[in-house]
Amino acid sequence: MHAHTNKSASYRGHLTVNVASPDQTRQDQTRTGSQPAAGPQARDAVLLGIDHVGKRFGFGEGQITALDDARFEISDNEFFTLLGPSGCGKTTLLRIIAGFEHPTEGRVLLDGRDIGHEPPFKRPVNTMFQSYALFPHLNVRKNIAYGLEMLRWKPADIKRRVDEVLELVQMPAFADRRTTQMSGGQQQRIALARALAPRPRVLLLDEPLSALDLKLRKAMQSELKRLQRETSLTFVMVTHDQEEALALSDRIAVMNKGKVLQVGTPEEIYARPKTCFVADFIGEANLIPAGLVGLADGHTISIRTEHISVRSRPATTRRSVEAIVTALTFLGADTLIEARCAGDVPIKARVRGAVSGLAVGDRADFAWDHSSEWLLSE
């Protein structure tokens, strides 16, 4: 409810906001083929604009391009994720938004104002660091109050706000504890509280869950989602974990080698990847030359492993390729069948349950519905 109120409030004065109708959205989702990804969905006003931002380190021959011509817009109240493998430039971009690095090209617009060259302490943007970076010489309360003291809040207001955010991260009993005596998960909540306390315009999260074990990570995922809803803040998260990105984000920017490859909702990026890299990085996808199934040569189609069925006899009504099975891996709920088809192209299928009557070296037919294949535009 809280989030909703905030949303409608931020529409005021932004009459040009593009609001897609529910029908339009449904149409977008069922569309197949190589059409470009759907246009902007119903969205709040632009809060943060990344405008042709580039970052180069060094000069001349030894110059390294960490970030190349990144451009996208993040809306008010959005959970936005920068997703990519290590070294893709996502952390550099996060540090540019925080102000620890300055862009060599382009502008960083916050509420329409270029903040690209302002120092971090002048930006209403807070970061939750990967290493938490709590101040070891201060207790929990002092850690959280730090930013507020710097902003010269009144002591009474600081106390109230610290109690409020401790409540928010469900750690009210920890105010007077030393941060050095706490577990990783507890430290993380304090780091989150500290970054939330000054009510920043944007909260940056640098690989927030990477240091936690699996169980805690799952719990913290829903916690982050809840916090974003309750605070109706804009979250910008950096991660290399595609599952995490799909589960949490309103929209994702997939990055590789300093470039932003695709920006879209998790559904868009999963179902309609633009490039081979995106198709391959998000979930398990088969990348098959289009010529192999009688489509235009020189293109690639992607099919999710879970959309392929394996038969011993060709199916006439569906798209199919013949392949020789190279490995069968039982994964509990599913079985992963790996095979090679003509031209040594690898193909993988994930089928429910155990597989009988199929062995390594067998010929089998890998078939899928036309609707589940996706022609990559690049």
């Binding site: 925080a98 102000g99 620890f100 120092p119 971090p120 302490f121 943007v125 807070n126 970061t127 660091f129 290493s131 970076a133 709590l134 101040f135 070891p136 010489h137 730090y146 930013g147 710097m150 902003l151 050095t180 500290r194 970054a195 000054p198």
Partner: protein, 267 residues
């Protein structure tokens, strides 16, 4: 048996050998300490317990002057070298390999490897060459130079340990550079700074060679004075002074190590 990997801890006689080495290293110190409490004049003949020699030391005006010289020089060198070490450590934090910072770092640490006698002679020649006559000031300058690396090393180790994330966090939370230093860097660095200062103080207090060559009449430091006493024969008074010096050094170094331990536990 032969399939067992070699384990040096299982060497026969290892513990006996260790005790022999310890005895060899520390027996002379022990002898000095014991004989500083001797009642008789003989340096090697035990005649009963007494604190006479300590009393004599405390009433010896020359020893008092030498001690106060030593303390003035050590305190001044400690303060100056620690200030230099802190600024150097902060400045050289992000020095890249092969850059100018690396060279500076080498220069700072040089007194650790250059033979002290060379430094002493060079400093003496240099000071008389430029006609520098600042009395104890000369000594303070020379001591500051060789104390810098002792103060520098713990501070640098702490900075490396600390990383830059906490300072980034402070910047992120609306602190300008001065506030970051004042409220985060300095408090976190303080134990290392104190520990570095203690080590600098102890190495200045113990120094003999440089003080010996540079000190003029009336600027004798305690180690130089003890050396002078020795030439008149070994008296139990020397044992008492040495024991006092040893005790203060041990206390200072223990405090320094304790502080370093505190930094470790904090991070």
């Amino acid at each position: 048996m032969s399939s067992k990997p070699f384990d040096w801890k299982a060497t026969p006689g290892l513990s006996t050998l260790s005790w022999v080495v310890y005895l060899f290293l520390y027996a002379p110190l022990l002898v000095i300490i014991i004989y500083s409490f001797n009642a008789g004049r003989q340096a090697t003949l035990w005649e009963g317990f007494s604190l006479d020699w300590y009393a004599k030391v405390f009433h010896n005006r020359d020893i008092g002057i030498a001690l106060s010289n030593s303390l003035i020089v050590a305190v001044a060198a400690m303060i100056l070298s620690t200030m230099l070490a802190v600024t150097a450590a902060l400045g050289l934090r992000h020095a890249r390999a092969g850059g100018g910072g690396q060279i500076t770092l080498g220069l700072i640490l040089m007194p650790l490897v250059v033979p002290e006698i060379v430094v002493a002679v060079a400093t003496l020649v240099f000071f008389s060459g430029i006609g520098l006559k600042l009395g104890l000031g000369n000594l303070i300058i020379a001591h500051t130079v060789f104390c810098v690396p002792f103060a520098y090393l713990p501070i640098q180790a702490r900075l490396t340990d600390m990383g830059s994330a906490v300072e980034d966090a402070a910047r992120d939370l609306y602190s300008n550079e001065w506030q970051v230093f004042r409220r985060v860097t300095l408090p976190l660095l303080l134990p290392a700074i104190l520990s570095g200062a203690m080590l600098a103080f102890a190495s200045s207090l113990d120094d003999f060679l440089i003080s010996m060559l540079l000190a003029d009449a009336g600027q004798t430091t305690l180690p130089v004075y003890i050396y002078g006493m020795l030439r008149l024969g070994v008296s139990p008074e020397i044992n008492a002074v040495s024991t006092l010096l040893l005790a203060s050094s041990v206390v200072i170094v223990l405090v320094a190590l304790r502080m370093q331990g505190m930094t470790k536990r904090k991070s």
